[in-house]
């Protein structure tokens, strides 16, 4: 069977070689990189612009961004017909291609996040490693911990006030460099689509900017969601562990912090959400107004075949409802959870409508292609290019985040600075 034939249904006049070649994994790719970039921008709001209220969220977002970073290239690997040749991109990058820069942009960004994390948690590493070093009879686990944290210090044990001050400066600089790099990382994912001149729906210079805005929206939303979930878990844990007197105090304390952080973060979410919607609508209006050759077929897709996906699922449920939820006064945690879930869904649908929607019509402009996502996997292809593959990618960051939070404690304020 030809690649793509399994999930493509052709209607009217479509060229014989046309199939939906870029399927659900290519929807996941910009979605995941978007989360990476968004989470990083959120953490930078505190480090660069000194928005004090986001202190707690900043550390959390940075670690989460790092966890997401490892997942971001996975959809591409699963999508490649020859995944083991993926390394060719690093060996013979062909720089006229937008994808060729992936290796460079991605590694640069990874290096920035890793160094920022190091400066942020250096003190913590030293504080863990030093007592273990002095301890005489270490158990196996302690040895392991000792080795991990010893190597993480990179041999630097100087945690004097002066050096810590310098660390903070380094973090600020790294975060400042990181913002444009994060935007580039994702803007360039938009460029991959926006520069395909053969695809009438994708080709617009607005694409990278739209991608960046929706990326920040989704990144902030996911950070808020994960933050709420972990805070709720902490509340639950603290209510089980502590004596009745201590517990109520600590639980209230935690809840207070949680609501505060969420309220502030929600403001930034709203700001970027409005920007993203504005740009997307501008693109739509511009296409309708200029009405070039491809408009007839694009209109029939946008207002006809994909109406539910675009106007109901993406704009109404994904944008309008969360906009109202966050704008209503007196934001509660429950409403915030509902809001961010809708936002995440909306951004996912936006990616879907770009990637799948862009292939919903034929290059002939006289035919259509329908995508049927493989639900039940029965071979490797239907697994990786189906619902199961997409879900594995979506869930992958969470266990990674859990492992990373063992090394970079996201809540222990004493451990870092």
């Amino acid at each position: 069977m030809v690649h793509g034939e399994l999930w493509t249904l052709k209607e009217l006049f479509v060229y014989p070689n046309e199939y939906i070649y870029w399927s659900v994994q290519i929807v996941m790719y910009p979605f995941m990189t978007g989360l990476v970039a968004g989470a990083f921008v959120l953490s930078s709001l505190y480090h660069v612009f000194g928005i004090k209220q986001l202190r707690e969220m900043a550390r959390f977002a940075l670690v989460f961004s790092f966890a997401l970073l490892f997942v971001a290239p996975m959809p591409i690997v699963l999508h490649l017909q020859h995944p083991f040749r993926g390394v060719n991109i690093f060996m013979t990058p062909h720089f006229t291609s937008a994808i060729a820069a992936f290796g460079i942009v991605f590694s640069a960004y990874g290096a920035i996040v890793a160094s920022e994390l190091w400066f942020l948690y250096r003190k913590h590493f030293v504080e863990v490693a030093l007592p273990l070093k002095e301890k005489q009879d270490k158990g196996l686990l302690e040895w392991l911990k000792f080795f991990v944290f010893c190597s993480l210090t990179l041999g630097v044990y100087d945690v004097s006030e002066e050096t810590l001050k310098r660390d903070e400066k380094a973090i600020r600089v790294l975060a400042a460099i990181g913002i444009p790099v994060a935007c580039f990382l994702h803007g360039y994912a938009g460029f991959i689509f926006g520069s395909v001149k053969a695809n009438a729906l994708w080709m617009t210079p607005l694409m990278p900017v739209i991608f960046i805005m929706s990326a920040i929206v989704s990144g902030i939303a996911l950070c808020m969601l994960t933050y709420i979930v972990t805070m709720e878990l902490r509340k639950w844990v603290s209510s089980r562990k502590k004596s009745p007197y201590r517990y109520s105090e600590s639980k209230q304390e935690l809840a207070g912090v949680e609501v505060n952080v969420i309220k502030i973060t929600a403001k930034y979410l709203l700001m970027f959400l409005v920007l993203a919607i504005t740009l997307e609508l501008l693109d739509l209006i511009f296409r309708g107004y200029t009405a070039v050759k491809s408009w007839d077929v694009i209109r029939s897709v946008i207002y006809g075949r994909d109406f539910t996906d675009i106007f109901i699922l993406q704009y109404a449920i994904g944008n309008l409802i969360p906009l109202v939820l966050f704008l209503l006064p007196g934001l509660t945690i429950r409403r915030a959870v509902l809001g961010v879930c809708f936002v995440l869904f909306g951004v996912f649908m936006m990616r879907w409508n770009v990637v799948i929607g862009g292939q919903a019509f034929s290059l002939t402009f006289a035919g259509y292609m329908h995508y049927h996502l493989p639900i039940v996997p029965y071979d490797w292809e239907t697994f990786k290019e189906g619902l199961a593959g997409a879900l594995s990618i979506a869930l992958m960051p969470f266990p990674l985040f859990w492992v990373m939070s063992k090394i970079f404690p996201v809540f222990d304020a004493k451990g870092s600075h």
Partner: protein
């Protein structure tokens, strides 16, 4: 602790130490390699299709599949023939069942999803066939977007794919406005028409040109003024497909209609 001076010194030494051995490597340009083998710059292959002569028999598609080892029953093909039927009420119908591998055996138009459209002969204004293949563009978007340089253009204009280097990302397939590219069902790499490069470089014609009973397809060298194909392109009125993409296609058509997609 290391001071700034030492740090800079070490950094410079380190970079120099790494850069020197790296400088021994040369990034090999496939174009250059190709040019070293033979001087083909005096050749620029072009294709000429006379749509008036095509009857839609599909021999070219069959021959191409066999010659280039594209699985016969796979629903992909390097070349295909399209049928256009324009009715008196101004509607345009087009189809290419199985790329017209078996020709057009019925007058019903294939609408896809198992539906067919009957058109009465008296309702037809005009109808014709258009063979399609890779345009071997002068400005090929597929070559531009390949992230690893696995697809490249030879100096004689033919665009080819390196099956050993293609990673199978599909970017070139998305980048081609003509839909000539696909994934090879066996090799799982990008695949396309290369004007039967193994034949034309030996002085033979492409399989489709050879097999066409009506002479609808011709291949020539536009740099040779005495080539019959060149003469036709230079003296007669020929059209190209999808000019608006700026790809500068090198497959020329006689009798192109505005309805051709």
């Amino acid at each position: 602790m290391i001071n700034r001076r030492d740090f800079l010194k070490f950094t410079v030494k380190g970079i120099a130490g790494v850069a020197l051995p790296l400088a021994a490597f040369e990034i090999v340009n496939p174009r250059k390699l190709f040019a070293d083998k033979s001087d083909t710059s005096r050749v620029r292959y072009v294709f000429l299709i006379d749509t008036y002569k095509c009857v839609g028999c599909g021999m070219c598609v069959k021959a191409c599949k066999l010659e280039n080892e594209i699985p016969y029953d796979a629903n992909v093909t390097r070349t295909w023939v399209e049928r256009y039927v324009i009715t008196k009420d101004g509607k345009t119908f087009a189809d290419t069942p199985k790329g017209a591998r078996d020709g057009f055996t019925t007058s019903r138009i294939d609408l896809g999803m198992g539906k067919f459209q009957d058109i009465k002969n008296e309702d037809i204004d005009k109808a014709f066939f258009v063979p399609k293949l890779c345009n071997q563009c002068e400005n090929p978007p597929c070559v531009q977007v390949c992230p690893v340089g696995a697809t490249y253009q030879a100096p004689d204009g033919v665009v080819m794919v390196d099956r050993d280097w293609c990673i199978g990302c599909g970017y070139c397939i998305m980048g081609c406005p003509y839909g000539v590219r696909f994934f090879h069902p066996v090799y799982h790499t990008a695949e396309k028409c290369n004007f039967c490069y193994h034949r034309i470089t030996k002085g033979l014609k492409t399989a489709c040109v050879d097999v066409c009973p009506f002479g609808a397809r011709q291949i020539g060298n536009i740099k040779d003024p005495n080539d019959p194909v060149t003469k036709i392109i230079m003296t007669e009125r020929v059209g190209i497909l999808k000019e608006e993409y700026g790809t500068k296609p090198q497959a020329f058509y006689i009798g192109l209609d505005r309805e051709v997609k």
